[in-house]
Point group: C2
Chain length 477, copies 2
Amino acid sequence: MAKFEPIVPEFEYLFHPQSIAVVGISSDKNRFARGRWLLDSLLSARFPGRIYLVGSKVGEYAGLPIYPSVKDIPDRLDYVIVAIPAAATLQLARDVADKGARVLHLFTSGFSELGGEAEKQMEKQLVDIVRTRGMRLLGPNCMGIYYPAGHLAFFEDVSSTPGHFGLLSQSGGNGIKAIRLGPRRGLFFSKAVSYGNAADINETELLNYFTADPETDVIGMYIEGTRDGQRCAAAIKKAAEKKPLIVYKGGNTEIGRSATLSHTGSLAGSGVVWSGLFKQAGAIEVDDMDEMIDLAMLFTYIVPLTRANTAIIGVGGGANVMVAEFWSRAGLAVPRFPLDIREKLKAIFISEAGFSLRNPTDIVPLVREPILTRTINTVTGWENIDYVLIHFAIGITTEPVRTYMKQDMETLVELPESVRRRVMVLIYEAISPDDRYLAGELENICHRVGLPVFHSAAGAALALSRYVRYNQRLSDC
Amino acid sequence: MAKFEPIVPEFEYLFHPQSIAVVGISSDKNRFARGRWLLDSLLSARFPGRIYLVGSKVGEYAGLPIYPSVKDIPDRLDYVIVAIPAAATLQLARDVADKGARVLHLFTSGFSELGGEAEKQMEKQLVDIVRTRGMRLLGPNCMGIYYPAGHLAFFEDVSSTPGHFGLLSQSGGNGIKAIRLGPRRGLFFSKAVSYGNAADINETELLNYFTADPETDVIGMYIEGTRDGQRCAAAIKKAAEKKPLIVYKGGNTEIGRSATLSHTGSLAGSGVVWSGLFKQAGAIEVDDMDEMIDLAMLFTYIVPLTRANTAIIGVGGGANVMVAEFWSRAGLAVPRFPLDIREKLKAIFISEAGFSLRNPTDIVPLVREPILTRTINTVTGWENIDYVLIHFAIGITTEPVRTYMKQDMETLVELPESVRRRVMVLIYEAISPDDRYLAGELENICHRVGLPVFHSAAGAALALSRYVRYNQRLSDC
């Protein structure tokens, strides 16, 4: 094996292949072939480059011919996606190298993650082949690349809107969740990489890439372990210095550690060590992907302040109590409005019974003219309010409140930017299919207006408290 | 005012009216008349008794004539729902009394909850009229009664399946959420009462009723305050002695207290006092309605044990790590399977790469024969496992896994009851409309099989830890 010195590569080529081959395709649609998942994702994303298919049975899929071997493909290959059994990957790697490809991406699992000696050995051999032949290996056991600007994806029907959130995820499932759920809530991606076992391309290199990437403003990372704690720690420090870095470390509890099955390095096991590292580096640790999305949305949309006095405005007295209590438990203030603000609100609301104007503020969009925008402008006019949370518990409302609320939210586009960048929207309690349809419509309005959408009061409160603490830390430096 | 001595009434008549009048109905469908909400709910629930409508404009709604006054209704009235402005309710109350009605239910708000002296006075006058005329007042400012067995409801299209969970809720919104969301997850209601300001019928009387009610096995209570702390405390103690009592106390934080706007009694304000009372009484305090539903489901479906060693079985490695870590953080054990159990699992799973058989156990229903039932029977065969969590993160899966998972879950009906009563199902990460449709199908399967459905890993873990602590406390007594 040639001595391999890890460097920080310019990984741009990962995201800009001209030609892709997918190995492990069957023309039999009833047969489950894992390669089809990634192929369908590419087709759904309208990848504009050349796509080639390889399968054991010659035939056709989606109008594309299936070649018996990569060797038969009459073109140069840049990027090869592999979904064939592990045992067959070594020969394939050699064949792919002969085609001059730069990236071998193994969706295939059954390597070191199984913990067996034979599988570990096979993974090592694979890495040897790849490195000596000038390729890089992504995976094994991963979903690969989501790059909306380049029409690359690892799930069907995901957003094609580019954004500025970059994600590296050791888990494919967590990656899928993020790229599916994030854009529905307003978090759009520069790129996401699911990197699995990290046999070759690893978290350190990817993190360095995202740190340097001009398309990425905020970095998210789901990591289970590392094989080189020191380099990884250095990359985390550098990343967090340059950009907000949000980390979800899987396997920090004893049970979770067993579940990650990652026996890969000195740092891997100790949650305390990892947490200390994140804290010292200025990275923000979260406990699941929802929390990561929540926080990334704030970095994307909301003006960074060091105080979070919040005006809570929403439909339903019980809902207002509940939201206010989550705010309180997260250590955030909901200051009561002074008389002059309440008088101004009374004029907007035409003083109907049942409204509380104190903060939280009950809003019932019954009147047929929009009141939300005026209400927000009024409460942010008080210097003691930093942020505004609009919340709408869809499932506990009925018509015509729903229709009026929708009309009302459309007018939020009139908010001045300085105000808009203080507003968070919580859309929740969508219970029935009708509720969820309305939730989707309201989310679309928020995207058009440029407002972040939250799905949980507890999540929004936790994210805001973390955001403010992060801003305080920055301002202390 | 006649001296009124609160007694514990036999409230059965609340749930068995023969005739109902809804006051505040307009024939103009474009006009928002709040009474229509509750009328539509009754019609949707197919209330089998006689329904009469009252509105300021004569006309017709849903084929029913609109009378100008309750006095014009040519029938005795048992139960009158009122949705007209507060100022008009005093005269109405007298008219209703003349009709011999027993219950006046005020959906109308604008009374003591506004905090003003005039409104408080009006509420008092209303109570005077009601009490001197032999009626009882429900509300004001509340949604009233949900009683599936009697076809009474306060929201459209809610479940008509009777169950054994009884809820009293001071908040209408929290009541609506519970009766809409609970049945989707498998929690069916004996009855629910939204009681609002509790000017007459109050939390103490209702709690005493639910304690005595043979249709109710588990009691849930959302309460913001009381006007008689001692009686309320006694009722809580008695209830918790007889049945599991789950309490969500709104307004325990300072912000929340301001939000509840309830300045109603000595006990009302202090969260610490309330929490101490609940603890001493053996009631279980929760922090929102989701937590209440989670816990009520366990009391309904799951065998009460004093230990919660759990087998976690689900699709997706990252998802398994996440679920296991929530279990761990809640102080619950996920013991690793011994070799003989793993060997048995290997035989079921036909040993495909990518499966972890240690616990958590990766399940990928790829093989075309059901494996879930055999897996559950195998792991519960180990004496070190008390409970089983099946989890399915819908949004991170694709076909044919979804179809196979559905087929597989259908076979859970074959579980012996002793095993079934240890199984919880977590269906989550439903992101797209398709995901949610599948979630609905899986939930229906769970209802047929008799399994509780959870929507959040954190929620399921928290509920199970509370459940086991409750069982431990009982066994210590």
